[in-house]
């Protein structure tokens, strides 16, 4: 297990470096001068050159990448051009809100997905299966930003039950686990949960169906094992794959929250990314994407290791 873990960690290093390279290059494919946002319109050539040197934009690209990577390793992702504050601190504060949202959505989406998937898999080709599968298909096909709007229309505009935007009463910035704050979490979390719900349902349904049609299940039943025992075997066999899918989905929720956070003005990393894009705040854009991508890479690593811990066959593969 230790050897497998070590091997997986070593394998992650080149991925992390390449991810950093992509994030670094992202800024260099942008058209226009990255300094436009900070320079006053009537800036002299001298001031421009001075700032260029201050940001390091005057060096050759590979040198810039090396220096940037070195600084990034020390936790220095530069300063936001718009606010002047350190990028890492800005991103980390926002990521906290995104994690809150993703975990709430994961609890809803995964629970629903596993339940629907198990039911659909057990009652394959019946009307119960058809209903569950339709839910799943709708979940993966719905433009989630539109679903968010619909929920706001129904629960905020029409019924006036829940707040439409924000993450706390009167623009409060710090999250707290009380009803006043939780009210704000309900709609974004439900919206975020539909895609993982659909995908987990489909995965668990396929797994359950496959496992139930295998010979060993027949044998278990033949030897007189009660249904609960059979069910335990189904869960055990489905767990590694289902876990991998759920881990990946959690990563997608963390990294892909920009649309939902924009709809609900949820002050998370996606919202930050949105403002970075429209203020052409390139260091912030770069830093946010890097942090989110690294989250995703490490989540994948954790899932792989957890999967190998459950299913010993994977280590040998």
């Amino acid at each position: 297990m230790l050897a497998y873990t070590a091997r997986r960690i070593v394998y992650v290093v080149p991925i992390v470096i390449s991810v950093a390279l992509v994030c670094f290059l992202l800024v260099h494919i942008t058209p226009g001068d990255p300094l436009v946002a900070v320079l006053p319109a009537d800036a002299s050539q001298e001031l421009a050159a001075q700032l260029r040197a201050a940001y390091g934009f005057d060096r050759p690209l590979p040198v810039q990448f090396g220096l940037w990577l070195l600084r990034a390793l020390h936790g220095d992702l530069g300063n936001s051009i718009a606010t002047g504050r350190p990028v890492l601190a800005e991103v980390m504060r926002a990521v906290g809100n995104t994690v809150t949202l993703a975990i709430a959505a994961a609890i809803i989406g995964f629970t629903m997905g596993i339940l629907l998937g198990l039911i659909a898999g057990y009652f394959r080709e019946t009307w119960i299966d058809k209903v569950a599968t339709s839910f799943a298909i709708a979940g993966v096909s719905v433009p989630h930003y539109w679903l968010g709007m619909l929920l706001v229309i129904i629960f905020s505009v029409q019924l006036n039950w829940l707040p439409a935007v924000g993450a706390g009463p009167s623009g409060s910035n710090s999250w707290a686990w009380d009803w006043a704050h939780l009210k704000y979490l309900v709609l974004p979390a439900i919206t975020t949960s539909v895609i993982p719900m659909g995908i987990v349902t489909r995965t668990v349904r396929a797994l359950t169906g496959d496992i139930l049609s295998q010979d060993f299940v027949e044998a278990l039943r033949a030897k007189g094992l009660h249904e609960r025992g059979v069910f335990r075997h189904v869960v055990k066999n489905a767990a590694p794959t289902a876990l991998a899918v759920m881990g990946l989905q959690l990563g997608y929720m963390l990294g892909g929250s920009i649309l939902i956070e924009t709809v609900f003005s949820w002050p998370g990393s996606g919202f930050l990314l949105n403002s970075a894009i429209f203020q052409r705040d390139l260091p912030l854009l770069q830093g946010t994407i890097l942090i989110l991508a690294l989250f995703f890479v490490f989540l994948n690593l954790l899932v792989d290791i957890a999967q190998a811990a459950i299913d010993p066959r994977i280590k040998r593969g």
Partner: protein, 300 residues
């Protein structure tokens, strides 16, 4: 993992395709999908939406660009405006029909482009193998380290707003996914006897890939690509929704949804209409892709 359903279709294509005559196989698939009511209904809806988008100028609709301050945000069912009017008083029906033109193009084109590029890369990586395979597949791995929504937004955010940029960004998102599928299917085919036979009879690498490999892997890759269209539609409209795609006053479903967001307190159901179009197209493509997949799985 996402490979789960893929390898299933790949298996199906591999086992079914060489065993039966090419025409016989596709004729069977065609017959099976024609008998599937859900698939046919979806195909019909899509056909309707695509045709009306293409024929929009000849359908006798209102001018989708002409607004009027005195008839803003009319409700659904207003005489003369069956689906109401938007925040600038433009006819919603006309805008939804015209909006299909751009929305469908920016949603479907990236998948077509990625299908061409990804299939070529995957077949080359899978057939040639060795260092080239490592180079291509490790590059693909890097893009897999980004969630696709994040990657799409990062690229189009860096490139700046614009239709072309959003198409480029989405193509970059889908190329690695299709390459992976194409590579794994090709690796499955390359060691089969008929490829060996072709090589023994003196066929060059390019000929083998074009004649012997392509025909046997295209089906599986195609089914996978059709399943991406739904995601692509949602993402493309999403980029416009964020303001990274089309510019106003162009009718496009994602952008319309964005500009109508401010109207949800006045006329919520009109504001929700463009999203319903995206949903309809997306779910139809998903169901059609599922239908195609099970139609190609001859074993059942």
């Amino acid at each position: 993992m996402s490979e789960l359903p893929l390898s299933a279709t790949a298996d199906a294509a591999l086992q079914a395709a060489p065993a039966t005559k090419a025409r016989g196989y596709w004729a069977t698939v065609g017959r099976r999908i024609m008998r599937d009511k859900v698939s046919m209904a979806c195909a019909l809806v899509l056909l309707l939406i695509v045709l009306s988008a293409i024929l929009a100028p000849w359908l006798g609709l209102e001018d989708p660009y002409k607004g009027s301050m005195i008839r803003r945000l009319r409700h659904i069912g207003t005489p003369g405006y069956p689906l109401g009017t938007d925040e600038l008083g433009r006819d919603m029906l006309a805008r939804l029909v015209y909006g299909g033109r751009l929305s469908l193009v920016i949603g479907i084109l990236p998948v077509i482009l990625a299908f061409c590029i990804g299939t070529s890369l995957g077949i080359i990586a899978g057939y040639v193998g060795g260092k080239l395979n490592t180079a291509i597949m490790r590059t693909v791995d890097v893009f897999y380290a980004f969630p696709s929504v994040l990657l799409a937004i990062a690229i189009s955010g860096a490139l700046g707003a614009g239709i072309l940029n959003s198409i480029v960004a989405l193509t970059i998102v889908f190329v690695p996914q299709i390459t992976r599928v194409a590579e794994s299917v090709t690796t499955g085919v390359r060691n089969m006897d008929f490829v060996e036979a072709a090589r023994a009879s003196g066929a060059g690498a390019f000929t083998i890939m074009r004649v012997h490999i392509l025909g046997n892997v295209l089906g599986a890759i195609f089914v996978y690509a059709t399943s991406l269209i739904s995601v692509s539609m949602i993402l493309a409209a999403g980029l416009s929704f964020l303001g990274l795609g089309t510019k106003p006053p162009e009718p496009e479903w994602g952008l319309m949804l964005n500009t109508l967001r401010t109207a949800i307190y006045v006329n919520p159901w009109v504001a929700a209409l463009p999203g319903a179009m995206i949903f309809a197209v997306s779910i139809c493509f998903n169901l059609l892709s599922d239908g195609l997949r099970s139609a190609m799985d001859i074993r059942n």
